[in-house]
């Protein structure tokens, strides 16, 4: 047991003992599960004489989560031992993750790697839920996740319409056009040293600008519907793709190019058999950056005028109507969509650039 694990176990058990003692002030039958958890947590101090498996810590943490959620309804206002139970739950989860990570490193628990971020995420949600409800945070400031979830389920048709409008139309269309245009222009520019010398500094300059500022102008040019949002996305994704592809096309080493020269390979053979494969890591880098930029661009562009549908539109109007739970539901959906988008590109990248030293080592 490492020093960190030692102290985590000690403090978690100690907190449970103190909480258990304090809880005797309430009638026995109130918050029975919570008391059971505190008792178990107290008993876990026995680990210093009897070894305790890491899954036991996981189970105690899970019981703690259930007990705290159940106790939330029964105990109002929340007494000190309730908060002690919350912190103890959190410490047990931490201890569990520490021990699991150590076990995975030692090769004793392979295949459980996904559990670590999961426990981490659930712990944060639990903390958020319990603190917002336990201390009665006004829902305009921060609604509890359970309320966001109920709202999300209840407004699925609205969310789906917004998703279609913003993601399936504006983001995807703009992303594909912007990336394709950036790529094509990069190939053209690459053949002309003059254009390369002129366009690259411009590209770098424009990449650094907050292009989102052109959103109102795009609305004037292309109208209120998704086309103007797609135009903003095109403008945002074009230059990162251009700049990355141009540097990618120069990534092949001089000896690799000399080899092509000795075969008297023509321009297109060199492009397809050497320069594009060598540029792939750069191109995927741009695709990943752009996946994030595209979503941000489309959502923010909708703040500047839009038909009455779309993720950005919903966020800006529902904030005004103090429906903060719906705003959070939109944010949650945007987060899931954005991560999935990024994840798909990252997966394709791995299979295409498997040869690159940064990917090679990983399974």
């Amino acid at each position: 047991m490492s020093q960190l694990q030692y102290y985590l176990a000690l403090v978690a058990g100690g907190l449970c003992a103190a909480g258990l003692a304090l809880s005797f002030a309430t009638p026995l039958e109130t918050a029975l599960v919570l008391k059971a958890f505190l008792a178990l947590g107290f008993l876990s101090l026995l680990r210093f004489t009897l070894p305790l498996g890491l899954w036991a810590d996981g189970a105690v943490a899970a019981l703690g989560a259930v007990a705290v959620l159940a106790g939330l309804a029964a105990l109002d206002p929340a007494p000190p031992f309730f908060w002690m139970a919350l912190i103890a739950t959190w410490l047990f989860a931490w201890l569990f993750v520490e021990r699991l990570a150590a076990a995975i490193r030692a090769g004793r628990a392979t295949g459980f790697g996904m559990l670590i971020p999961l426990v981490f995420g659930v712990s944060i949600l639990l903390f958020w839920e319990v603190v917002t409800r336990g201390t009665h945070v006004p829902q305009v400031i921060l609604p509890p996740p359970s309320q966001v979830w109920t709202r999300l389920i209840a407004s699925l048709p609205t969310l789906w319409a917004d998703f279609q409008q913003t993601f399936l139309k504006a983001v995807l269309a703009g992303y594909i056009m912007g990336c394709a245009a950036g790529f094509a222009v990069a190939i053209l520019v690459d053949r002309s040293p003059f254009l390369k010398a002129g366009l690259l500094p411009t590209g770098n300059f424009v990449s650094a600008l907050p292009i989102i500022g052109i959103a109102p102008i795009m609305v004037m040019w292309f109208g209120f519907d998704w086309q103007s949002k797609a135009a903003v996305v095109v403008a945002m994704t074009f230059f990162p793709m251009l700049v990355n592809t141009v540097s990618g096309l120069n990534a092949a080493s001089s000896i690799e190019r000399d080899l092509m020269r000795t075969y008297a390979a023509n321009y297109w053979q060199t492009l397809f058999k050497l320069r594009l494969p060598a540029a792939a890591p750069f191109i995927f880098n741009a695709l990943k950056i752009n996946s994030t930029l595209a979503l941000i661009g489309a959502i923010v562009a909708e703040f500047f005028g839009t038909p009455i549908v779309g993720m950005g539109f919903r966020i800006s109007t529902e904030v005004g109507r103090l429906n903060i739970d719906l705003v959070w539901a939109e944010i949650a959906m945007a987060a899931v969509a954005g991560s999935a988008f990024y994840g798909v590109i990252a997966l394709v990248e791995r299979s295409v650039t498997f040869w690159h030293p940064s990917v090679r080592g990983r399974a």
């Binding site: 000399d258 080899l259 020269r261 000795t262 075969y263 008297a264 058999k273 498997f354 040869w355």
Partner: protein
Amino acid sequence: MTTDLSAANMDKGPPPQAVVSAQNLSLTFGTNDGPVHALSDVNLTIAKGEFVSFIGPSGCGKTTFLRTIADLEQPSSGTLSINGMTPRQARETRAYGYVFQAPALYPWRTIEKNVALPLEIMGYPKAEQAQRIARTMELVNLAGFEQKFPWQLSGGMQQRASIARALAFDADLLLMDEPFGALDEIVRDHLNSELLKLWAATNKTICFVTHSIPEAVYLSTKIVVMSPRPGRVTDVIESTLPKERPLDIRETPEFLAIAARVRDGLRAGHSYEDVV
């Protein structure tokens, strides 16, 4: 072929068919700390079917000379012709195969696909590609590693794969820049005799850079000794060894005499440096 060689060995009259012919060839690189005279006034004729080794201290211009033949560098003055053509025309007719000092395999291609690269570019039909790949992989002892990627192979294996790639399209002129530098003695001996066999069987012309005196003497019909700053040819030694060369020829007095002359040539190059 034997007559070719004896004609070259006699060192009289113009060679029957010059594959490489350099007259007063000079090449100067302009660098930030002034010009570097990589080649100065090189005169050399290489006849068809010769095996020429270039030997000399590091930085004396061996790679530069090979690259100039390959049209990868442009001479500053003098003339250079390959098979009677300019280096550029020769390159465009795919007159030579080049083995670089580093393997330069493409990491996204398997070994087999790397060997196939020149064949794809030169438009060989698929069936012939497969057959040529199998033959050259066998020749460099890499059969069984076709589906590996370059980074999964040792440095010596990578170098052998790059030799297979240069052999795959059967150019009449082979330019090899320290191809066996990364190999152990035994594999080196093996590949040396394989290379001699290949050379004897195909009448290829081979330009071979090496740092090893025994290797140069064992392989060559002609040894070109070079010295640095400025890079120039200090001695051209015609080998008197017979064409048939078992490995133990390296113990004969004749072999040792040639090796001694190469060594003297190299020493002279070094002492020149001290005078300057």
